[in-house]
């Protein structure tokens, strides 16, 4: 049955609702990359008696905002609306879910727009670096695909394909609804019931969505990907490997270790790269979270001439952390920071309820967020050091940069200690 999560608050006359279905772009059928996102975006482009233009007029006139999008592991509708308009707004959203039209003419228009957006995304170096990194890291695994699809895959997606995707994934047993605002629990549950009333309870004979995506695996070796782009004065530089799964026994110790490496403004990366050397405006590391093991990555943006030394420094910091670990003072500092700053992760009803939604949608361990502080508090130095030694990359890693291979390739290969598989990608790589 559908899970409904509620945070009641009278602070503002504003209602926020997220409806997440547990199938996203990782469930795109082969050759139809981009289907999950198209499906979500088509919902507001015609439903029941409403045309696309009528829907947009209505949403805006009611003082509401609606987004419908896909991530790798979920398809999510999120809306916020002024309390007085909640009833008619909810009626409209319920219609979008109950009677989507998936008209071919609208699909063609959206497909062309999405293709144009993919072309436009090449203007962003950060987006190019991220795409190249994930594609190289995850390879053929669904986590390596672009959620928007590709220029080639999009036209092959038909309205009937989207209808099938919708029927398979937009179902009540795979839905989680999160409501925050001035509504009682029973009113919020009734609202969720109304929003999903046009959807089937389950899809006959379908496996649970969570079983459809395998664990990713790390390819051995050192790999460098250079996205060729002209006139760069600096390079977006991302370094990483596979990271963590929330179900790993060393998951929380690894979060603690990563915070010491690059999770705060005084972390090792920030201190060495920015404060000591001024090489990059930003310097950070992060561990992404999803249903399966996600990426570990370090981000900097040095001037082209500093890219080699900067990468060498980052890899040295990584290897020192793996070898020597953190000491007691650093551990106490990081744990203190994570525990005390946690107040800002949960200081509004919307943040609290979306955290609970994340736990359900990503199949995080029961009580993942509720027990977070307790688990961080209990982490020991030995656990942290064992986790970073085991999980952070040593020999097997991926480096992705944007710029010119003529100036970047040699210093980056040298910084990686040689024996590197190098791949050069044109700016319009798919």
């Amino acid at each position: 049955m559908t899970t409904v999560l509620v945070e009641t608050s009278d602070a503002l006359p504003l209602v926020s609702v997220a409806i997440a279905f547990r199938g996203g772009a990782a469930c795109d059928p082969p050759g139809q990359e981009g289907a999950a996102r198209l499906c979500a975006r088509m919902l507001r482009r015609g439903a029941g008696a409403w045309s696309a233009d009528q829907i947009e007029d209505r949403l805006d006139l009611l003082g509401g905002e609606l987004s419908a999008s896909a991530s790798l592991s979920a398809s999510t509708l999120h809306f916020e609306v002024i309390l007085r308009s909640l009833e008619p707004f909810a009626d409209l959203v319920a219609t979008l879910l109950a009677e989507p039209r998936f008209e071919p003419s609208e699909l063609g228009r959206l497909c062309r727009k999405t293709q144009a957006e993919i072309v436009e995304s090449r203007d962003s170096d950060r987006s190019l670096a991220s795409r190249a990194f994930r594609m190289e890291l995850f390879g053929d695994h669904p986590y390596g695909r672009r959620i928007a699809g590709s220029i080639a895959s999009l036209p092959s997606i038909r309205a009937t394909d989207l209808r099938r995707f919708f029927q398979e994934h937009y179902r009540r047993d795979e839905a989680v609804v999160a409501v925050s605002g001035p509504l009682s629990v029973s009113a919020a549950e009734a609202l969720a019931e109304r929003l999903l009333s046009g959807l089937p309870a389950s899809a006959e004979g379908r496996a649970p969505t969570a079983d459809l995506v395998p664990e990713p695996t790390m390819k051995p070796g050192k790999r460098l990907v250079i996205v060729e782009k002209a006139e760069r004065s600096q390079t977006q530089l991302v370094v990483g490997s596979l990271g963590t799964s929330a179900h790993d026994p060393d998951h929380v110790p690894l979060l603690v270790g990563n915070t010491a490496l690059g999770g705060t403004f005084t972390s090792r990366l920030m201190n060495e790269v920015r404060v000591q050397r001024g090489w990059s405006y930003g310097a950070s590391s992060s561990l992404s979270l999803d249903r399966r093991r996600e990426a570990f990555s370090m981000w900097t943006a040095p001037a082209e001439a500093d890219a080699g030394p900067c990468l060498e420094l980052e890899l040295r910091l990584l290897s020192e952390l793996r070898r020597d670990g953190v000491d007691d003072d650093e551990l106490a500092f990081v744990k203190g920071y994570l525990v005390r700053s946690h107040a800002f992760d949960i200081d509004t009803p919307k943040k609290r309820v979306l955290q609970r939604l994340e736990e359900k949608v990503f199949d995080l361990p029961e009580g993942y967020f509720a027990r977070y502080l307790e688990r961080v508090g209990a982490v020991t130095r030995d656990e942290t050091n064992a986790a970073v030694a085991k999980r952070l990359p040593d020999g097997d890693l991926v480096v992705a940069v944007v710029g010119s291979h003529e100036t970047l390739e040699a210093p980056l290969v040298a910084a990686m200690g040689g024996d590197v598989t190098v791949k050069r990608l044109p700016i319009d790589f798919e």
């Binding site: 233009d53 007029d57 228009r109 436009e120 600096q234 001024g278 525990v339 700053s341 200081d347």
Partner: protein, 469 residues
């Protein structure tokens, strides 16, 4: 009427009297009044319990704005300085922003990095921002870290160390920030060209981050002069939002800031921009696949009575998928991927800047012609009552959304106080929007969407062969 449980105005006056007894001139504190701050202030359905922003002032001129909210045990503390890149002169652009970076460095009492470390140890998160009219420092903190945060803020207001290695290193960081946000960023680079072209005289024409050669040229003396001139209690407002009270806050502020003397602030030397009499058009080539157009129409200052109707007009043109520009250019003609517009919110007249991202193969002239057609329709009176209602609803929604976190509320209070001296301006503006008619929108469309007074920057894809293959 104050929210239930909040102190009466008389109680705040009495508190200030008691706290001022026996204190030196600079440390005395005065209650200057309260203004309602909250949605109920303009909503007919409110409960009547409207939160209030209370304003206090130390004898040395430091303003303190307090908005109490005990919903969570957290606080947001911001210090707004009424200095930004508008106050810079040619050859020294970027000093306000570079200085913002330096404020996180060494002081006589704390070594390099200690400020960030102490704050993070306390679970606080800190940042800062500089723009044309202001600079502000922001910290989110657990409520028990209030004394620590204010002690660090007051310390760097008085005891900052500005030495050569530190300035040199921070210049490197800022140059890298410039490369990331301007030189290698299409939007950033084009926005800089737009403002530079639109302003010949007024300092809004130079970029807040500064020209690269100016950043390279700064020496510690430039920074020390800037510090001595603008970083004074009488040029600052301390904004505190969250779980505390005047009784807790004010004694700490007195203890930390009460010994500081005010400075004599210089008379601002900016000259107004002369009227623009002909369209300015600039064409640049960039490594991109499709054309872009940035347009800057003249817009009034934030405090001008026309600013609200022009903002509503901005919503009609660019606000979401039902807006005129989106529907016409993205959806129907399919010549653009993205359209957006923003009416500058600045102390002095600035730009209503508009951005059109073309699709591959579309000519800049075609995109501009289609955009001009829809502007002509608006000037001809085409806006409907429903469009006006949608714009009002959007403004109401965004005002509400800007009240969700303590940081958003602090930013609203601080920004509107710094630019207008009115921390409650969002609600006054919302009330003004509710009264706006189609006549108001037509008036501002005809007054500001004037072709001969606009600036256009077109971005063309570099010719093939020049772009990396």
């Amino acid at each position: 009427m104050p929210a239930a449980g909040s102190p009466t105005h008389q109680a705040l006056e009495d508190l200030c009297d008691a706290l001022s007894k026996g204190r030196g001139e600079h440390a005395r504190v005065r209650y200057e009044g309260s203004v309602p701050f909250g949605f109920a202030a303009v909503s007919s359905g409110g409960s009547g319990a409207v939160p209030e922003v209370a304003r206090f002032r130390l004898g040395n001129g430091l303003a303190i704005l307090l908005l109490t909210d005990a919903a969570a045990p957290v606080l947001c503390v911001q210090t707004w300085f009424r200095v930004g890149s508008r106050h810079e002169r040619a050859g020294k652009t970027g000093i306000a922003h570079l200085f913002e970076h330096l404020m996180f460095g060494e002081t006589e009492n704390h070594e390099e990095g200690e400020l960030d470390r102490l704050l993070e140890e306390a679970g606080a998160e800190t940042n800062a921002a500089t723009f044309l009219d202001w600079t502000y420092y922001h910290t989110n903190l657990p409520k028990d870290a209030l004394e620590l945060v204010l002690s660090l803020e007051a310390d760097r207001l008085e005891h900052l160390v500005l030495n050569a290695p530190q300035v040199a290193r921070e210049k490197e960081v800022v140059m890298n920030e410039r490369r990331q946000r301007v030189d290698d960023d299409l939007d950033g680079a084009v926005s800089e060209i737009l403002y530079k072209t639109a302003f010949d005289v007024h300092p809004y024409g130079h970029p807040t981050i500064g020209w690269m050669e100016d950043i390279q040229g700064f020496v510690p003396e430039d920074c020390a002069t800037f510090y001595g001139t603008y970083y004074a209690p009488n040029n600052a407002t301390l904004v505190v939002v969250g779980d505390t009270t005047a009784g807790v806050l004010l004694p700490i502020v007195q203890a930390r800031y009460g010994h500081l003397a005010p400075s004599e602030l210089p008379v601002e030397d900016a000259r107004p921009e002369p009227p623009q009499t002909s369209e300015r058009y600039v064409s640049v080539e960039k490594p991109t696949a499709a054309v872009k157009l940035a347009l800057g129409y003249r817009c009034p200052a934030l405090g001008d009575a026309d600013h609200v109707p022009l903002s509503l007009l901005g919503e009609v043109l660019f606000g979401g998928a039902s807006s005129r520009a989106y529907r016409r250019l993205v959806r129907q003609a399919e010549v653009a991927t993205e359209v957006r517009g923003w009416v500058g919110a600045f102390a002095e007249p600035a730009l209503f800047d508009c951005w059109l991202s073309g699709r591959e193969g579309v000519q800049a002239s075609d995109l501009l012609r289609r955009f001009d057609e829809l502007i002509e329709e608006v000037i001809g009176g085409a806006i409907t009552e429903e469009e006006l209602e949608k714009a009002k609803a959007k403004l109401e929604l965004s005002t509400l959304q800007g009240l969700e976190t303590i940081a958003e509320r602090a930013e609203g209070v601080g920004f509107y106080d710094a630019v207008l001296g009115e921390p409650d301006a969002p609600f006054r503006r919302l009330a003004q929007a509710r009264r706006a008619t189609r006549s108001d929108l037509l008036r501002v469309a005809r007054r500001y969407l004037v072709r001969h007074a606009r600036t256009v920057v077109e971005v063309l894809p570099q010719k093939s062969g020049e772009q990396a293959a």
